[in-house]
């Protein structure tokens, strides 16, 4: 799918929606209705939405712990997402979640989350192997941060993907930090260079520019789908907040944080749409209001869900 004006608008709309959803979640936390453990995605919506937008509905997504924008872009309903965080029966896992949730929606290719970072890299390689062996032309996309990229799991997944030309796209969201540790301190070399050593194509892209992300993602996804093998996209993003919702973020200086604040991909995308004459201010406002209404409706609906009782504990552990 080419990067048409509609695609651009859709990317913007989804970024805005994801952000609005996240604000609503944080409000639920303030109101003590949802548990306060969440890794906000503010700053990385550009990468998450635009890369995911290059996927087909039946492609597989292994999202990461930061934000929910990729999951929203893949089509999981806001009610289900709220339900997962509220821990009630409207969530995809039927109330097992709450906290840093595991969202799972196999019909949409959303396979779930590994709470240990890096676990999803291997599962992604397995899913990609599976679609290759089943000849389904499905592509698997796997998101993770600069920190998680340094787990050995990446090496094993990337090597298998490279050796067997698996239909897999790794997206490294490099926001420069893993909790308090700067990427420059913890990392030798660069992530996109690492691609070469596995016989993969490596891309470096500005994650603040969702349209640029979409273009490389589309190329990588098409390569994967047509049998050309895996790719790795290193997207430079920012973490506009603390690591988790209540992280005081004291290990990053005021200047560092201020510099990041200039790099909001949602602001940037909006500006590009206006400057390139692709949308009017009114149109965008309308779009935004619709998104806010959608979030409000979903929140109201989700709050009507029922929390599971003790009987839920032993369900679905054995078939």
């Amino acid at each position: 799918m080419a990067l048409t004006t509609d695609t651009k608008k859709d990317i913007y709309r989804t970024m805005f929606l994801a952000q609005a959803w996240e604000q609503a979640l944080l409000r639920l936390m303030d109101e003590n209705l949802a548990p306060a453990s969440y890794h906000p995605g503010r700053g990385s919506e550009g990468t998450e939405v635009a890369a995911t937008a290059a996927l087909r509905p039946d492609d597989y997504l292994l999202y990461d712990h930061r934000g929910m924008a990729h999951i929203i872009a893949k089509g999981v309903s806001l009610v289900e997402l709220f339900g997962d965080f509220l821990g009630n029966d409207l969530g995809t896992t039927g109330g097992l979640g709450a906290g840093i949730v595991h969202v799972c929606k196999p019909e949409l290719g959303v396979l779930g989350q590994s709470g240990t970072l890096g676990g999803s890299q291997l599962i992604a390689a397995g899913a990609a192997l599976s679609s290759k062996l089943r000849h389904t032309e499905q592509v698997t996309m796997c998101f993770f941060g600069d920190g998680a990229a340094n787990r050995g799991t990446f090496h094993e997944a990337a090597n298998a993907a490279g050796a067997w030309k698996l239909p897999l796209v790794f997206v490294v969201q490099n926001n420069g930090w893993a909790v308090s540790v700067p990427t420059s301190y913890s990392t030798g070399g660069t992530f996109h260079d690492r691609a070469i050593g596995y016989g993969m194509t490596g891309y470096e892209v500005d994650g603040q520019d969702p349209f640029a992300v979409y273009e490389v993602a589309e190329e990588a996804v098409e390569r994967a789908r047509s049998g050309g093998g895996p790719s790795l996209i290193e997207a430079h993003t920012v973490r506009l907040t603390g690591h988790y919702a209540s992280d005081p973020d004291g290990y990053r200086s005021a200047e560092v944080r201020a510099a990041y604040a200039e790099k909001d991909p949602i602001v940037k995308a909006r500006l590009m749409l206006l400057e390139q004459g692709l949308a009017t201010e009114d149109e965008l406002r309308g779009m935004e209001q619709t998104a806010l209404d959608e979030v409000q409706t979903a929140r109201d609906k989700a709050l009507t869900g029922t929390k599971p009782g003790a009987e839920r504990l032993h369900q679905r552990v054995y078939v």
Binding site: G94, G112, G126, E156, A157, A160, V317
Partner: protein, 324 residues
């Protein structure tokens, strides 16, 4: 009935299930053209081809984690780790991904895979190639733990494991590979989680699984010569654990010996002893006895290894002491 080896039985189970269900694939180091370093997968590559029998890189995390991903998306992988000890090289993938993914995600996906784990001391493998880590899976519910002791059980249990929608950790003792026994042809299935009385008796219950069953049977023979009837109960694995069968046997004999090859501390014997001490204490006429390997890393020197690993003599002595 025809007699085949434990290894042939395992091979046959895989071949039959791969024939029956094209979603079944096999992946592991050297499982392809070579037929596995122990020869267990011989012929499967020729028969099913490279898209069904995959030689993997030396990447244990990928072998298990990749199989989890494949199992969630429409295949039914049989993944092999070359040695059961390598479960530690893929522990998060085994305990937290294979075993827990389904539950963690609300049952939205199943993870129908079998992880094959050749285990046990063989005379010189050393501390990192001789382990029997089946009990390590106990605190990680979600996967079945199967440990066959005979060729017939190996075939029947593996076929059940491959058909199960739950993940199954399947431990094969390397020293059993060449042992022979009667195995029914065709669709022989053994249910997972049902214990089997391999020898009935009235005086002492010896609970064992995997290779230790044969030690128990040999010791029982010797005890019979002394006029004691030993019941050998093969749990065939550890999860589900057939607690009613264990308690029923202890009720009959009043005396319980549990034999495992793993180090004495922290193994399946401890779990079974604890369960009986909780649920069957009044059935006991003597203290429970456990036999396991010495609590040391297994030395590479085969002569030292012999001192470390349980022997028939150890079992025999324990039986005598229980009857004293």
């Amino acid at each position: 009935m025809r007699e085949i080896t434990y290894m042939q039985a395992i091979n046959e189970a895989m071949a039959e299930e791969m024939e029956r269900d094209e979603r079944v694939i096999l992946m592991g180091e050297d499982v392809g053209a070579m037929g596995g370093i122990f020869g267990v997968t011989t012929g499967l590559f020729d028969r099913f081809g490279p898209d069904r029998v995959l030689d993997t890189p030396i990447s244990e995390m990928f072998i298990v984690g990749g199989a989890v991903g494949a199992a969630m998306t429409g295949l039914r992988p049989i993944a092999e780790l070359q040695f059961a000890d390598f479960i530690w090289n893929a522990a998060d993938e085994t305990y937290a991904k294979m075993s827990k993914w389904r539950y963690m995600h609300g049952g939205q996906v199943t993870v129908p895979m079998v992880l094959r784990l050749p285990e046990g001391a063989t005379g010189g493998g050393g501390a990192e190639h001789s382990g029997c880590p089946e009990a390590s899976m106990l605190p990680h519910p979600g996967a079945h733990i199967v440990v066959p002791s005979t060729p017939a059980d190996a075939k029947g249990l593996l076929k059940s494991a491959i058909r199960s929608d739950d993940p199954v950790a399947f431990f094969e003792h390397k020293m059993l590979y060449a042992t022979k026994g009667p195995v029914p042809e065709g669709d022989h299935l053994v249910p997972i989680g049902k214990a089997d009385i391999k020898r009935p008796g009235t005086d002492v219950t010896v609970v064992a699984w995997g290779r230790m069953v044969s030690l128990a049977l040999q010791a029982a023979d010797r005890a019979a010569a002394d006029g004691h009837e030993v019941e050998v109960l093969d749990t065939r694995g550890l999860r589900p654990l057939d607690v009613p069968a264990i308690l029923a046997s202890v009720e009959k004999t009043g005396r319980l010996l549990i034999v495992q090859e793993a180090p004495k501390s922290g193994g399946g014997a401890s779990e079974i002893a604890a369960i009986v001490a909780e649920e069957g204490l009044d059935l006991l006429e003597a203290p429970i006895r456990r036999i396991g390997a010495a609590d040391v890393p297994i030395p590479q020197n085969a002569e030292l290894e012999r001192f470390a690993i349980p022997t028939v003599d150890d079992v025999q002595v324990a039986i005598k002491e229980l009857l004293a």
